[in-house]
Symmetry: C2
Subunit: 441 residues, 2 copies
């Protein structure tokens, strides 16, 4: 089954759009135009009641009943705002606000409403609900942008229930085949496609087929840099190079007592060896900000008294420097082979993924930076270290990310926090940047 | 909660029994007395239909519906043989055949009917159904032994659903407290005590309180020695020294991307490090038959994109030499501490266990060896490398094990096999040894 396509797709559509006659830019929004943070915060508070996890946190995994409940609320809000809502075949929700010229490609603004198993209340949620607040603010202002604006809620960004993460944006960008995404199996058993239908979000809209004018994604930083520097807005200039791996080991069950070590094919031991090596790779590169993560290990039978004949792992390595990241990835793949060899197990690479580099659009980066400056906000350039749907969107259209600080950089944890006041600068940067882009000549 | 008691219990009861006037031994069974292997095999075949796993195997985990179904069949067979059936508070089934002097302590003969998740059809099953065949044969012969004989089916020998293994015999021998056993949690959630009640085997008989005259356990070897040497019967003289560990690691969830390596507390990485070290310890001692086993690792949330804040492991090391086993255990505990330290995680040892050494009764070993010789069977002495209920029984009464070969030593695997004809020698050795013991003066 087709899984990956290297590089962007449908470039010809972008070229066609570029052949239009030049337009004159609309005047910029006055700098005193602002989102209503109290109204925005009330949407965050409503979201925080759906899929409650540990105290203060959320556990709203993709395609669960909680995901459905949050989608239902979000769609209601979008319809109340007179937006045209459509859902594509992987469940991604698009809510469109018409422009003065609806023949122009839309500006996409979005992120994701799903969370990790011990997720926080902000994460990508601020990106989706921030886009909704942007639209509500434009309604208050009576401002209709030249280009349409579409709010996007991507399905399963987290990969917390279906590996790998970011499959919906990956599918939209042509990097994952639709049937492959729909056939993914949840950690708890069911198929992606079946769960999508069960929660009522198996839309009939084709996946992709549109090349947006631009894609903006507001997200919490998920790191400590902005908070430590007391910055209000992060201008994301590039992304850490990340290499991920989803692999199976196959061995043979046998007794943990009499069965000789030299005959053993313990898949759990193979998985443990690989994850240990990946943690070591991360520690070896800690001084320059490198990461190596043992993320997931499941085995069968995984019981006292018996060797496991199957194990599945998810792990990744990340570094800001492309060459170092590539070297870390080489070590990870060597460790995979070494772990299998040492334990006499077979292995099967189910998926690999890599993101990162200077993938964001320089024009949009400058727009966000200038906008934050024009609004008099403390801002700084920084890289993104996490994975985001923006990485896939950057393959098909000009893309940029805006970060808001989060307290102590804590994320994917129920203690993730950012205050209403701390969110205002990034929300306004998003508002003014998106409008400038949508209204440009 | 009390978990362990060092050394045997209720020794005073044994001394009291020893004060009786001497008895005269009954004449031995003629050597041509034999079990009915076809009848025995039919019970094995019935058992093989209950809790079917992969082709040819069983997956009959303790206190499941399948375990209940097998128990029901076994109890029916026992009642048909006029045995007096009782069940104790941890679900162990005792089926008593009266002797000519029921004031004498009974001879216990048993093993376990539960299996591993990818278990075979023989394992401990041959020990319980072999004891039943022994009783049926004595009925055919019209032979009533002087001492009563009790067939025993121990609950949860395998530990495949509730860790640790052998808790029922451990509780009988006073090594585990009743309330601790009943409070054990299954890998799939429910409590031991609740599952016992659910399947209708929460008996009212006290656990222990009886010191048997002897305990015999027939079991497949679970190793390749007898099959390779074309031996018919294994006389188990001692047991590998085994040290087991059940431990938790505690860390903190965080993002797999931005969160710095030096701040990470990834419990999954801690578990992987310990299991890797234990596998290494086993490999380092492979040349002298040592084993180190990564048996089980579960973590939470155990998802792509998030560090795990909890992991639980089960592992063990084994060696025939006591001092080497102790050294391996020291390394395992050092690795536990090193894994926690390296990953900034906490750890909590929930249980440790150790078995092995020259724990079996020399008189009974000689009886089994002489009996096999008298019956003209190819037999050899050998150690046991797996864990068995006999290890706990050896703490309170004279105990011995008899091994039957299994094809290529394959066990805890659906391809475990031993033929009807290959089982006959060990079954007859059990018959003649038990009768000699029960009838002795």
């Amino acid at each position: 089954m087709r899984r990956g396509i290297v590089g962007p797709v449908r470039v010809e559509d972008r070229d066609a759009a570029a052949l239009r006659p030049p337009l004159k830019a609309k005047p910029m929004l006055p700098t005193d135009c602002s989102v209503d943070t109290a109204r925005f915060w009330s949407t965050i508070e409503t979201s925080a009641t759906i899929g409650v996890g540990r105290e203060g946190g959320l556990s709203r995994l993709a395609l669960t009943d909680d995901d459905r409940a949050m989608r239902d609320v979000f769609v209601t809000w979008c319809r109340e705002a007179q937006l045209d809502v459509r859902v594509d075949k992987v469940g991604t929700i698009f809510a469109r606000r018409s422009g003065t010229d609806d023949t122009l490609p839309p500006v996409f603004v979005g992120s994701h409403l799903d969370t990790q198993a011990n997720g926080g209340r902000f994460d990508g949620i601020v990106g989706v609900l921030g886009a909704l607040e942007l639209v509500r603010t434009l309604d208050d202002l009576g401002h209709v942008t030249r280009r349409p604006i579409e709010i996007v809620n991507w399905t399963n960004e987290e990969g917390a229930r279906f590996s790998p993460p970011m499959v919906a944006s990956g599918c939209f960008a042509g990097s994952y085949a639709l049937d492959w995404v729909l056939s993914l199996k949840a950690d708890d058993g069911p198929r992606f496609g079946d769960e999508l239908a069960r929660i009522g979000y198996a839309g009939d809209h084709p996946v992709g087929g549109i090349v947006p004018d631009a894609y903006f994604e507001l997200h919490i930083e998920q790191g400590p840099i902005l908070d430590a520097a007391r910055m209000e807005v992060g201008v994301v200039t590039h992304a850490y190079h990340s290499h991920g791996l989803l692999a199976n080991f196959s061995g043979e069950t046998a007794h943990t007592g009499p069965w000789p070590m030299e005959k053993r094919r313990n898949a759990l031991a193979a998985g443990a060896r690989l994850l240990t090596a990946v943690d070591d790779i991360g520690l070896d590169h800690a001084a320059t900000g490198g990461k190596g993560t043992a993320a997931r290990l499941v085995a069968w039978p995984n019981k006292a008294g018996i060797l496991s004949d199957w194990a599945q792992i998810v792990c990744d390595v990340r570094h800001e420097d492309e060459a170092i990241a590539a070297e870390m990835q080489r070590r990870m793949m060597e460790a995979l082979e070494a772990a299998a060899k040492r334990t006499h197990c077979g292995y099967d690479v189910l998926d690999t993924w890599n993101w990162g580099g200077r993938i964001f659009d320089e024009t949009l980066i400058a727009l966000v930076r200038d906008t934050a400056g024009r609004l008099g906000l403390r801002h700084q350039d920084l890289p993104s270290q996490a994975g985001h749907d923006a990485y896939f969107m950057a393959r098909i259209c000009p893309t940029v990310m805006i970060f808001t600080p989060c307290r102590d950089g804590i994320t994917h944890n129920n203690n993730e926090f950012v205050s209403e006041a701390e969110l205002r600068p990034a929300l306004n940067t998003l508002l003014h940047s998106v409008v400038a882009r949508a209204d440009r000549g």
